[in-house]
Structures are given as structure tokens and as C-alpha cells.
Symmetry: C2
Subunit: 193 residues, 2 copies
DNA sequence: TAACGAGTAGACAGATCGGTCTACTTCTAA
DNA sequence: TTAGAAGTAGACCGATCTGTCTACTCGTTA
């Protein structure tokens, strides 16, 4: 059974993700989720606290989905292929677990909260670090030198973020496949050294 | 002499860039620029029109700066090195022409305006396309096969966007140098084929 | 059965939002 | 010299914002 608290989080996330946080008011969230205002302020002390809860929710949701996709793949370079194939599915709305693509929630939110010292921005940063570590465990299966792994990790991470950004801002739905091509070139080049 | 119109645009940009558009009100812009409200609405019919003017202003400002930096470099791979060196200067606040780094204005604004069909989002897309074409003219000096140039262009563009995003969200001030390393590897690999 | 936690609907408060308007000043060009 | 464009300060409007509060309804459990 879904609690009112979870209902508020998932509904608020939908609105925040598609419209931006400042563009969505408390009353719109209440109407969209069919919950009374008193109930919202029973579970959360402020809108900011609700925002932070949606960040946590999306963090888990996205991370779990991606980890599942990567674990399904064979080891080695196939893991990196799987990463970009997963992104490709995301960009093209073929993932049930995620909402229709509207960029990376954490990048979007970071843009709205320019002050990099506030807690909301820090949560966005933490999400990116967490996903980067997930990618690192995939690259470790390639058994390369430490420095090579580090370079590849940076490259894959940069290509991934670039793909998400361009898929959103430019509407380039093939961004993940383009990124995959470059990533594989770099990996094959590194393996033969 | 700076007109009131230009003053409003530059001041509004500063606030929008550091705080986000929805987080900045008309009155804050007026106070920060020392201009009367009547004057603002004499030059712009609405806040949205002012937003669009700041996008145009930043587009020109950023593009001109980057083009200047690239044109100063020798041809070939040095042009791509110059691109990432320029980004590195930007991320680390060594560029007088640009404000202290707070991510890419166009990526930030896209995050706030999820609806990809509105004019504001379209302007962001147009900026990215314009810069991509600038990079293309640099890669053309390498005299590679058309397909190779296309692949490299996508790679460099993705790495650039990834670097900007990670520099902002993660606060990774070395993102440009990491991206440069990957880009040069890809270029040298392509040249020897 | 009595108490209480979680829920509802919605009025209300105080602040702020974008935008309009009046009344006045200053500068410039016909 | 005078008409008009561009500027100032700031009151004002209606809408909307976050958040509080009252009054009431359920279930569960001690």
C-alpha cells in the first residue's frame, strides 16, 4: 500500500521533473496528488524538505535501474556498451521505471540552485558521484592498469553526462549511441596498449 | 555609453545566471540595476522578453570569446587543445569576458524550461548548435575523411558538454583537462588510421 | 469506549509576484 | 522655444506563493 507520503513524493517528482521546481507550487502538487495541505505539512516541514525527498527518491530509482541494466550484461567492454544502450533506451522513452525523458533531474535542479553550498546542490553532486562509482566497478572488470582505468572512467563519465545534456538541450535522441562509439574506441585503444 | 536597455540585460543576466530565472524577481533586477520599473517595461513587454534578451546577449558574448580563443591557436589538433584550455580557464575563473563560472547558462535555463517547444528552450538549442558548428570548422583543418570528422565532432562536443556539466554539478574544476586528454587520444587515433 | 494519529476541505495570513499607472523630470531635436 | 522621447520614484492591482489554522472524519488500539 502506498502511503500518502510516498504518493506526495512521486507526484511532486513528476511535476518538478517536467516543469522545474520553482515553476511548481505547493497547491499544484496537492491538486495533482489529491492530498490535503495539512497532510503535506504533516509529513514535510517545508517545500524544500519535499524537494530533498524527491531527490532521494529519484537517486534510488535511477541508480537501481541502471545497476540492474549493467549487471545483466557480460563483463568487460559489454558493460560499457550496456551503459550507453541503457541511456539510449532512457532518451527514447523505452524505460518503464523512469518518467518520459526530460533531461537529468539532478542537472536540472543544479541549474535552479546556483549556490553550490546548499544542501539541494550537494545532493545532486552526491548522485553523480554515486553513479560514477557504479561505472568504476564496471571498468574494473576490464583488468587494466590503474591509470588507464582512471582515464577511461573520466572519459566514460564525461561522455555520459554530455549525452544526457545534449539529448535534453538539443533534443538529440541519438546522443547515447554517439557517445557509445567514442567510448568503445577509447576502450579498444586502451586494451591493445 | 551604455543604454539603460543594455544595463538591464547585463544586470539581469548576472542575477539569472547565478540564481536561476524563476528565483529572480523583476523588483530585484530593478534594484540591482538602479533602473525604474517604467523604464524596464518601456524596453521589454514582459519578463520573458527580458529573459530572451539575456540569452541572446550571452550567446554572442560566449561565442565571440570562444571563437577568439580558437582563432589564436595553430591549425589542426592545437585548435582542439585550445578549446579545452579555454574551458579550463572558464571553469577556474580566469576569463574576464565571462562571469564567475556557474555552469552553462543555456543548460541551466533548459532545466528550468522543460517544455522543449517554447521559444526559450529553442534559443538554448540554437546556441549549442552554433557552438558545435564553430568546433566543426576547427576539425575541418585536420583534413580527415568526412566520416571521421563527423565522429570526432560528436566526440568533442559530447566531451565538452560533459565537462561543463561535471564542472558545475560536481564542482570538478579539472573536468576540462580530463576531457582534453580523451579528445586528443581520439584525434591521434583517427589521424593514424 | 475513549484517546489519538492520520486524514479531509479549505479559509486565512503575510509576503511577493509580474505588470500598470500617475506625476514629475531631463534631455534632445525640430 | 517647445514637443516628445526617455527617464525617475513608487503607489497600486490582482494573482499567486508558502505556510498556518480551524473544524471535522475516519480507523486503530489501549
Amino acid at each position: 500500500m502506498e502511503s500518502k507520503r510516498n504518493l506526495l513524493i512521486t507526484r511532486a517528482f513528476e511535476l518538478f521533473y517536467t516543469k522545474g521546481i520553482h515553476a511548481v507550487g505547493i497547491n499544484e502538487i496537492l491538486q495533482y496528488s489529491g492530498v490535503a495541505k495539512k497532510t503535506l505539512y504533516h509529513h514535510f516541514t517545508s517545500k524544500d524538505e519535499l524537494v530533498i525527498a524527491t531527490l532521494k527518491y529519484r537517486d534510488d530509482c535511477f541508480y537501481d535501474w541502471l545497476a540492474r541494466r549493467l549487471n545483466q550484461a557480460d563483463g568487460g567492454a559489454a558493460r560499457i556498451e550496456a551503459l550507453f544502450d541503457a541511456l539510449d533506451d532512457w532518451f527514447n522513452d523505452r524505460v518503464d521505471e523512469l518518467q518520459p525523458f526530460s533531461g537529468c533531474f539532478f542537472i536540472n535542479v543544479s541549474g535552479e540552485y546556483g549556490n553550490t553550498t546548499c544542501q539541494i546542490h550537494k545532493q545532486c553532486k552526491a548522485h553523480k558521484s554515486r553513479v560514477k562509482m557504479l561505472i568504476k566497478t564496471q571498468l574494473d572488470t576490464l583488468d587494466l592498469h590503474e591509470n588507464t582505468t582512471k582515464l577511461l572512467l573520466d572519459a566514460v563519465h564525461l561522455l555520459k553526462e554530455g549525452a544526457i545534456t545534449l539529448a535534453h538541450v538539443q533534443g538529440d535522441k541519438e546522443a547515447a549511441l554517439k557517445a557509445k562509439a567514442s567510448a568503445l574506441l577509447l576502450i579498444h585503444n586502451s586494451c591493445s596498449v
